[in-house]
Protein backbone atom coordinates (compact mmCIF):
# COMPACT_ATOMS: atom_id res chain seq x y z
CA UNK A 1 0.00 0.00 0.00
CA UNK A 2 1.24 3.45 -0.94
CA UNK A 3 2.32 5.71 1.89
CA UNK A 4 2.42 9.48 1.68
CA UNK A 5 4.89 10.15 4.51
CA UNK A 6 7.92 9.77 2.29
CA UNK A 7 6.63 12.67 0.26
CA UNK A 8 7.69 16.27 0.72
CA UNK A 9 6.16 19.75 0.87
CA UNK A 10 3.19 19.12 -1.46
CA UNK A 11 1.66 16.58 0.87
CA UNK A 12 2.79 18.31 4.06
CA UNK A 13 0.35 21.09 3.29
CA UNK A 14 -2.42 18.61 2.47
CA UNK A 15 -2.36 17.41 6.07
CA UNK A 16 -3.55 20.82 7.16
CA UNK A 17 -7.35 20.82 7.17
CA UNK A 18 -9.82 23.62 7.90
CA UNK A 19 -12.85 22.46 9.87
CA UNK A 20 -15.81 22.59 7.43
CA UNK A 21 -18.06 23.51 10.33
CA UNK A 22 -16.09 26.33 12.02
CA UNK A 23 -13.01 26.98 9.82
CA UNK A 24 -10.45 26.24 12.57
CA UNK A 25 -7.19 24.89 11.16
CA UNK A 26 -6.09 21.44 12.25
CA UNK A 27 -2.92 19.50 11.55
CA UNK A 28 -3.73 15.87 10.82
CA UNK A 29 -0.22 14.68 9.93
CA UNK A 30 0.32 12.91 13.27
CA UNK A 31 -2.55 10.44 12.72
CA UNK A 32 -1.66 6.77 12.93
CA UNK A 33 -3.61 3.81 11.59
CA UNK A 34 -7.21 3.82 12.86
CA UNK A 35 -6.98 7.23 14.58
CA UNK A 36 -9.55 9.92 13.95
CA UNK A 37 -9.21 13.69 14.11
CA UNK A 38 -11.98 15.93 15.41
CA UNK A 39 -12.07 19.71 15.43
CA UNK A 40 -10.60 21.13 18.67
CA UNK A 41 -13.17 23.92 18.80
CA UNK A 42 -16.48 22.44 17.62
CA UNK A 43 -15.72 18.69 17.72
CA UNK A 44 -16.68 18.19 14.08
CA UNK A 45 -15.32 14.92 12.65
CA UNK A 46 -12.46 15.76 10.29
CA UNK A 47 -10.88 12.53 9.10
CA UNK A 48 -9.81 9.03 9.99
CA UNK A 49 -6.51 7.63 8.87
CA UNK A 50 -6.33 3.97 7.84
CA UNK A 51 -3.35 2.32 6.19
CA UNK A 52 -5.63 -0.05 4.33
CA UNK A 53 -8.63 2.26 3.83
CA UNK A 54 -8.59 1.93 0.04
CA UNK A 55 -8.33 -1.87 0.14
CA UNK A 56 -11.20 -2.11 2.62
CA UNK A 57 -13.38 0.25 0.61
CA UNK A 58 -12.62 -1.76 -2.53
CA UNK A 59 -13.58 -5.10 -1.01
CA UNK A 60 -16.76 -3.76 0.60
CA UNK A 61 -17.76 -2.14 -2.72
CA UNK A 62 -17.35 -5.42 -4.56
CA UNK A 63 -19.41 -7.32 -1.95
CA UNK A 64 -22.08 -4.62 -2.01
CA UNK A 65 -22.29 -4.84 -5.80
CA UNK A 66 -22.85 -8.61 -5.72
CA UNK A 67 -25.47 -8.28 -2.97
CA UNK A 68 -27.28 -5.52 -4.87
CA UNK A 69 -27.43 -7.74 -7.97
CA UNK A 70 -28.92 -10.52 -5.83
CA UNK A 71 -31.39 -8.10 -4.23
CA UNK A 72 -32.75 -7.14 -7.65
CA UNK A 73 -33.21 -10.67 -8.95
CA UNK A 74 -35.34 -12.41 -6.31
CA UNK A 75 -38.68 -11.72 -4.56
CA UNK A 76 -38.35 -9.08 -1.88
CA UNK A 77 -41.53 -9.56 0.16
CA UNK A 78 -44.70 -11.55 -0.31
CA UNK A 79 -48.15 -10.87 1.11
CA UNK A 80 -50.85 -13.51 1.62
CA UNK A 81 -54.46 -12.90 2.63
CA UNK A 82 -57.70 -14.88 2.05
CA UNK A 83 -55.92 -17.37 -0.18
CA UNK A 84 -54.57 -14.65 -2.47
CA UNK A 85 -50.92 -13.80 -2.71
CA UNK A 86 -48.97 -10.84 -4.05
CA UNK A 87 -45.20 -10.83 -4.41
CA UNK A 88 -43.06 -7.75 -4.88
CA UNK A 89 -39.52 -7.38 -6.13
CA UNK A 90 -37.20 -4.52 -5.27
CA UNK A 91 -37.54 -2.63 -8.60
CA UNK A 92 -41.33 -2.86 -8.26
CA UNK A 93 -41.17 -0.55 -5.24
CA UNK A 94 -40.56 2.25 -7.74
CA UNK A 95 -42.33 0.75 -10.78
CA UNK A 96 -45.74 0.44 -9.09
CA UNK A 97 -45.73 4.15 -8.29
CA UNK A 98 -45.18 4.74 -11.99
CA UNK A 99 -48.14 2.49 -12.84
CA UNK A 100 -50.32 4.67 -10.61
CA UNK A 101 -49.21 7.76 -12.53
CA UNK A 102 -46.77 9.14 -9.95
CA UNK A 103 -43.81 9.35 -12.31
CA UNK A 104 -41.81 11.92 -10.30
CA UNK A 105 -42.13 9.96 -7.09
CA UNK A 106 -41.18 6.69 -8.76
CA UNK A 107 -38.06 8.32 -10.23
CA UNK A 108 -37.10 9.69 -6.80
CA UNK A 109 -37.61 6.36 -5.05
CA UNK A 110 -35.70 4.46 -7.74
CA UNK A 111 -32.89 7.01 -7.53
CA UNK A 112 -32.55 6.97 -3.74
CA UNK A 113 -32.68 3.23 -3.17
CA UNK A 114 -31.19 1.74 -6.36
CA UNK A 115 -29.69 4.07 -8.96
CA UNK A 116 -27.63 6.42 -6.77
CA UNK A 117 -26.22 3.59 -4.59
CA UNK A 118 -25.35 1.65 -7.75
CA UNK A 119 -23.66 4.65 -9.38
CA UNK A 120 -21.72 5.33 -6.17
CA UNK A 121 -20.52 1.71 -6.06
CA UNK A 122 -19.31 1.86 -9.65
CA UNK A 123 -17.57 5.19 -8.97
CA UNK A 124 -15.98 3.73 -5.82
CA UNK A 125 -14.53 0.92 -7.91
CA UNK A 126 -13.30 3.47 -10.46
CA UNK A 127 -11.46 5.30 -7.65
CA UNK A 128 -10.25 2.43 -5.52
CA UNK A 129 -8.84 0.21 -8.26
CA UNK A 130 -6.38 2.83 -9.64
CA UNK A 131 -5.49 4.02 -6.12
CA UNK A 132 -4.92 0.46 -4.96
CA UNK A 133 -2.77 -0.42 -7.96
CA UNK A 134 -1.03 2.97 -7.94
CA UNK A 135 -1.84 3.57 -11.61
CA UNK A 136 -2.63 7.17 -12.60
CA UNK A 137 -5.99 7.56 -14.29
CA UNK A 138 -7.21 10.75 -15.99
CA UNK A 139 -10.74 10.18 -14.68
CA UNK A 140 -9.77 10.07 -10.98
CA UNK A 141 -10.50 13.71 -10.15
CA UNK A 142 -13.88 13.71 -11.88
CA UNK A 143 -14.87 10.39 -10.29
CA UNK A 144 -13.82 11.60 -6.85
CA UNK A 145 -15.92 14.72 -7.20
CA UNK A 146 -18.97 12.69 -8.16
CA UNK A 147 -18.61 10.22 -5.27
CA UNK A 148 -18.38 12.93 -2.61
CA UNK A 149 -21.26 14.91 -4.15
CA UNK A 150 -23.60 11.94 -4.50
CA UNK A 151 -23.01 10.23 -1.18
CA UNK A 152 -25.55 12.30 0.81
CA UNK A 153 -28.26 11.21 -1.59
CA UNK A 154 -28.06 7.43 -1.16
CA UNK A 155 -30.79 6.27 1.21
CA UNK A 156 -30.38 2.48 1.38
CA UNK A 157 -30.37 2.43 5.20
CA UNK A 158 -33.47 4.64 5.39
CA UNK A 159 -35.27 2.30 2.98
CA UNK A 160 -34.37 -0.70 5.10
CA UNK A 161 -35.96 0.90 8.18
CA UNK A 162 -38.96 1.73 5.94
CA UNK A 163 -39.30 -1.97 5.10
CA UNK A 164 -39.33 -2.89 8.79
CA UNK A 165 -41.95 -0.23 9.54
CA UNK A 166 -44.11 -1.50 6.63
CA UNK A 167 -43.86 -5.05 7.92
CA UNK A 168 -45.18 -4.09 11.33
CA UNK A 169 -47.86 -1.93 9.72
CA UNK A 170 -49.40 -4.80 7.75
CA UNK A 171 -48.41 -7.83 9.82
CA UNK A 172 -51.85 -7.84 11.47
CA UNK A 173 -53.71 -7.87 8.12
CA UNK A 174 -52.01 -10.82 6.49
CA UNK A 175 -49.01 -13.12 6.40
CA UNK A 176 -45.88 -11.40 5.18
CA UNK A 177 -42.89 -13.45 4.10
CA UNK A 178 -39.39 -12.01 3.75
CA UNK A 179 -37.75 -13.02 0.48
CA UNK A 180 -34.09 -13.68 -0.38
CA UNK A 181 -33.84 -10.16 -1.76
CA UNK A 182 -34.68 -8.64 1.59
CA UNK A 183 -31.68 -10.31 3.23
CA UNK A 184 -29.48 -9.47 0.25
CA UNK A 185 -30.52 -5.81 0.47
CA UNK A 186 -29.85 -5.76 4.23
CA UNK A 187 -26.35 -7.14 3.56
CA UNK A 188 -25.90 -4.66 0.73
CA UNK A 189 -26.79 -1.75 3.05
CA UNK A 190 -24.13 -2.83 5.56
CA UNK A 191 -21.40 -3.31 2.92
CA UNK A 192 -22.35 -0.07 1.18
CA UNK A 193 -22.11 1.94 4.41
CA UNK A 194 -18.75 0.35 5.24
CA UNK A 195 -17.44 0.97 1.71
CA UNK A 196 -18.21 4.69 2.03
CA UNK A 197 -17.02 5.09 5.62
CA UNK A 198 -13.66 3.46 4.84
CA UNK A 199 -12.95 5.95 2.08
CA UNK A 200 -11.72 8.92 4.09
CA UNK A 201 -12.16 12.20 2.24
CA UNK A 202 -8.83 13.77 3.23
CA UNK A 203 -6.81 10.61 2.73
CA UNK A 204 -8.52 9.78 -0.56
CA UNK A 205 -7.92 13.23 -2.04
CA UNK A 206 -4.30 13.29 -0.86
CA UNK A 207 -3.83 9.95 -2.61
CA UNK A 208 -5.54 11.20 -5.79
CA UNK A 209 -3.39 14.33 -5.75
CA UNK A 210 -0.25 12.30 -5.18
CA UNK A 211 -1.12 9.98 -8.06
CA UNK A 212 -2.14 12.65 -10.57
CA UNK A 213 0.56 15.22 -9.70
CA UNK A 214 3.11 15.83 -12.42
CA UNK A 215 6.60 14.58 -11.53
CA UNK A 216 8.05 18.09 -11.91
CA UNK A 217 6.03 19.74 -9.13
Amino acid sequence: MKQTNNNDSVNKQSFLVACPSCDLLADTSHLKHGETANCARCDHFLCQYKDDGIARSLSYSLSALVLLALACSFPFLSFKASGLESVMTLPQTALRLYDYGMTELSILVAAFILVIPLVILLLLLAICIPLYNNTPNPMLVKTGRMVFTLQHWAMAEVFLIGVIVSLVKIASMATVVLGISFWAYAGFTICFTLALSNLDRVQCWNAIEHLTAEPSS
Partner: protein, 204 residues
Amino acid sequence: MTAITAASKDLASCHLCYKLAPATEHHCPRCGSTMHLRKTASIQRTLALLITASILYIPANVLPIMITDQLGSAEPSTILGGVVLLIELGSAPIAAIIFIASVMVPLSKLFALFYLCWCVEKQAKTSNQQNTAMFRMAEFVGKWSMIDVFVVAILVALVNLGGLMAIRPGTAALAFAGVVIVTMVAAESFDPRLMWDQTEENNE
Protein backbone atom coordinates in the same frame (compact mmCIF):
# COMPACT_ATOMS: atom_id res chain seq x y z
CA MET B 1 -7.55 32.99 23.00
CA THR B 2 -7.67 33.76 19.31
CA ALA B 3 -8.50 30.83 17.10
CA ILE B 4 -6.37 30.30 14.02
CA THR B 5 -8.88 29.84 11.24
CA ALA B 6 -8.27 29.30 7.56
CA ALA B 7 -9.89 32.66 6.82
CA SER B 8 -7.50 34.46 9.20
CA LYS B 9 -4.62 33.05 7.12
CA ASP B 10 -6.37 34.13 3.89
CA LEU B 11 -7.00 30.51 2.95
CA ALA B 12 -10.22 29.05 1.63
CA SER B 13 -11.09 25.41 2.13
CA CYS B 14 -12.56 23.42 -0.78
CA HIS B 15 -16.01 22.22 0.32
CA LEU B 16 -15.58 19.01 -1.64
CA CYS B 17 -12.01 17.81 -1.13
CA TYR B 18 -10.98 20.00 1.86
CA LYS B 19 -7.95 21.35 -0.01
CA LEU B 20 -6.68 24.67 1.33
CA ALA B 21 -5.92 27.30 -1.27
CA PRO B 22 -5.42 31.09 -1.30
CA ALA B 23 -8.78 32.82 -0.79
CA THR B 24 -8.41 34.54 -4.17
CA GLU B 25 -8.70 31.26 -6.11
CA HIS B 26 -11.99 30.65 -7.93
CA HIS B 27 -11.49 26.93 -8.53
CA CYS B 28 -9.97 24.30 -6.30
CA PRO B 29 -6.44 23.53 -7.56
CA ARG B 30 -6.92 19.87 -6.66
CA CYS B 31 -10.46 18.86 -7.64
CA GLY B 32 -11.62 21.80 -9.76
CA SER B 33 -14.80 22.58 -7.78
CA THR B 34 -15.72 26.25 -7.47
CA MET B 35 -14.20 27.75 -4.35
CA HIS B 36 -15.62 30.30 -1.96
CA LEU B 37 -14.33 31.59 1.33
CA ARG B 38 -17.94 31.21 2.56
CA LYS B 39 -20.93 29.78 0.72
CA THR B 40 -22.48 32.43 -1.55
CA ALA B 41 -25.65 34.13 -0.28
CA SER B 42 -25.90 31.35 2.30
CA ILE B 43 -28.60 32.91 4.49
CA GLN B 44 -30.78 34.14 1.60
CA ARG B 45 -30.65 30.78 -0.17
CA THR B 46 -31.33 28.84 3.01
CA LEU B 47 -34.29 31.08 3.86
CA ALA B 48 -35.77 30.78 0.36
CA LEU B 49 -35.54 27.00 0.53
CA LEU B 50 -36.98 26.90 4.04
CA ILE B 51 -40.00 28.94 2.94
CA THR B 52 -40.52 26.59 -0.02
CA ALA B 53 -40.36 23.59 2.31
CA SER B 54 -42.82 25.18 4.75
CA ILE B 55 -45.32 25.75 1.93
CA LEU B 56 -44.93 22.16 0.68
CA TYR B 57 -45.45 20.92 4.22
CA ILE B 58 -49.12 21.99 4.09
CA PRO B 59 -50.29 19.71 1.22
CA ALA B 60 -48.02 16.99 2.63
CA ASN B 61 -50.14 16.92 5.77
CA VAL B 62 -53.59 17.87 4.47
CA LEU B 63 -53.78 15.56 1.42
CA PRO B 64 -53.91 11.76 1.74
CA ILE B 65 -50.53 10.02 1.63
CA MET B 66 -52.10 6.69 0.62
CA ILE B 67 -55.51 5.24 -0.18
CA THR B 68 -56.58 1.77 0.91
CA ASP B 69 -59.10 0.07 -1.38
CA GLN B 70 -60.82 -2.73 0.46
CA LEU B 71 -63.82 -4.64 -0.96
CA GLY B 72 -64.88 -1.74 -3.13
CA SER B 73 -64.54 1.05 -0.58
CA ALA B 74 -61.67 3.54 -0.72
CA GLU B 75 -60.21 4.86 2.51
CA PRO B 76 -57.72 7.72 2.26
CA SER B 77 -55.27 8.33 5.11
CA THR B 78 -53.07 11.30 5.93
CA ILE B 79 -49.72 11.21 7.71
CA LEU B 80 -51.29 11.96 11.10
CA GLY B 81 -54.23 9.65 10.32
CA GLY B 82 -51.74 6.84 9.74
CA VAL B 83 -50.13 7.50 13.11
CA VAL B 84 -53.53 7.44 14.87
CA LEU B 85 -54.43 4.20 13.07
CA LEU B 86 -51.18 2.58 14.20
CA ILE B 87 -51.87 3.51 17.81
CA GLU B 88 -55.37 2.00 17.50
CA LEU B 89 -53.84 -1.16 16.06
CA GLY B 90 -51.65 -1.35 19.15
CA SER B 91 -48.28 -0.74 17.53
CA ALA B 92 -47.26 2.28 19.55
CA PRO B 93 -43.49 1.99 18.88
CA ILE B 94 -44.03 2.05 15.11
CA ALA B 95 -46.50 4.92 15.50
CA ALA B 96 -43.77 6.74 17.42
CA ILE B 97 -41.19 6.10 14.66
CA ILE B 98 -43.56 7.42 11.98
CA PHE B 99 -44.57 10.39 14.14
CA ILE B 100 -40.96 11.31 14.89
CA ALA B 101 -39.76 10.77 11.31
CA SER B 102 -42.62 12.47 9.48
CA VAL B 103 -43.88 15.15 11.86
CA MET B 104 -41.32 16.04 14.51
CA VAL B 105 -38.12 15.75 12.48
CA PRO B 106 -39.20 17.92 9.51
CA LEU B 107 -40.83 20.51 11.77
CA SER B 108 -37.94 20.78 14.22
CA LYS B 109 -35.54 20.89 11.28
CA LEU B 110 -37.43 23.81 9.74
CA PHE B 111 -37.53 25.66 13.07
CA ALA B 112 -33.86 24.96 13.84
CA LEU B 113 -32.67 26.26 10.46
CA PHE B 114 -34.95 29.33 10.63
CA TYR B 115 -33.57 30.01 14.11
CA LEU B 116 -29.95 29.63 12.99
CA CYS B 117 -30.50 31.98 10.04
CA TRP B 118 -32.03 34.48 12.45
CA CYS B 119 -29.05 34.16 14.82
CA VAL B 120 -26.57 34.86 12.02
CA GLU B 121 -28.61 37.77 10.61
CA LYS B 122 -29.23 39.46 13.97
CA GLN B 123 -25.74 38.56 15.27
CA ALA B 124 -27.48 37.19 18.34
CA LYS B 125 -25.31 36.39 21.35
CA THR B 126 -25.78 32.63 21.50
CA SER B 127 -23.54 29.70 22.19
CA ASN B 128 -21.74 28.67 19.02
CA GLN B 129 -21.16 25.19 20.39
CA GLN B 130 -24.88 24.71 20.93
CA ASN B 131 -25.88 26.19 17.60
CA THR B 132 -23.32 24.07 15.77
CA ALA B 133 -24.64 20.97 17.52
CA MET B 134 -28.16 21.98 16.49
CA PHE B 135 -27.08 22.44 12.89
CA ARG B 136 -25.29 19.11 12.82
CA MET B 137 -28.43 17.41 14.12
CA ALA B 138 -30.58 19.08 11.45
CA GLU B 139 -28.08 17.96 8.82
CA PHE B 140 -27.93 14.41 10.13
CA VAL B 141 -31.66 13.72 10.42
CA GLY B 142 -32.32 15.07 6.90
CA LYS B 143 -32.82 11.93 4.90
CA TRP B 144 -34.43 9.89 7.69
CA SER B 145 -37.74 11.66 7.10
CA MET B 146 -37.99 9.75 3.82
CA ILE B 147 -39.06 6.65 5.81
CA ASP B 148 -42.73 7.47 5.36
CA VAL B 149 -42.40 7.91 1.60
CA PHE B 150 -40.61 4.56 1.35
CA VAL B 151 -43.30 2.91 3.48
CA VAL B 152 -45.94 4.15 1.02
CA ALA B 153 -43.89 2.88 -1.95
CA ILE B 154 -43.46 -0.55 -0.33
CA LEU B 155 -47.13 -0.91 0.67
CA VAL B 156 -48.27 0.14 -2.81
CA ALA B 157 -46.01 -2.45 -4.41
CA LEU B 158 -46.80 -5.20 -1.92
CA VAL B 159 -50.50 -4.92 -1.14
CA ASN B 160 -52.18 -5.69 -4.42
CA LEU B 161 -54.79 -8.43 -4.19
CA GLY B 162 -56.99 -7.39 -7.10
CA GLY B 163 -60.55 -6.46 -6.04
CA LEU B 164 -60.05 -7.71 -2.50
CA MET B 165 -57.49 -5.22 -1.32
CA ALA B 166 -55.02 -2.74 -2.80
CA ILE B 167 -53.11 0.33 -1.66
CA ARG B 168 -52.70 3.37 -3.93
CA PRO B 169 -50.24 6.25 -3.41
CA GLY B 170 -51.63 9.71 -2.54
CA THR B 171 -50.43 13.14 -3.69
CA ALA B 172 -49.11 13.96 -0.21
CA ALA B 173 -46.33 11.41 -0.71
CA LEU B 174 -44.84 13.55 -3.48
CA ALA B 175 -45.29 16.78 -1.50
CA PHE B 176 -43.64 15.16 1.51
CA ALA B 177 -40.72 13.88 -0.55
CA GLY B 178 -40.39 17.49 -1.75
CA VAL B 179 -40.24 18.75 1.85
CA VAL B 180 -37.45 16.29 2.67
CA ILE B 181 -35.39 17.08 -0.42
CA VAL B 182 -35.80 20.86 -0.15
CA THR B 183 -34.83 20.87 3.56
CA MET B 184 -31.80 18.70 2.78
CA VAL B 185 -30.69 21.25 0.18
CA ALA B 186 -31.45 24.07 2.65
CA ALA B 187 -29.18 22.49 5.28
CA GLU B 188 -26.48 22.10 2.65
CA SER B 189 -26.67 25.76 1.61
CA PHE B 190 -26.36 27.01 5.21
CA ASP B 191 -22.77 27.82 6.11
CA PRO B 192 -22.15 27.07 9.83
CA ARG B 193 -18.84 28.95 9.68
CA LEU B 194 -20.81 32.21 9.56
CA MET B 195 -21.78 31.65 13.20
CA TRP B 196 -18.14 31.32 14.24
CA ASP B 197 -17.00 34.26 12.11
CA GLN B 198 -19.10 36.58 14.26
CA THR B 199 -17.52 35.49 17.55
CA GLU B 200 -14.18 36.29 16.01
CA GLU B 201 -15.37 39.81 15.23
CA ASN B 202 -17.01 40.24 18.64
CA ASN B 203 -13.84 39.20 20.44
CA GLU B 204 -11.71 41.73 18.66
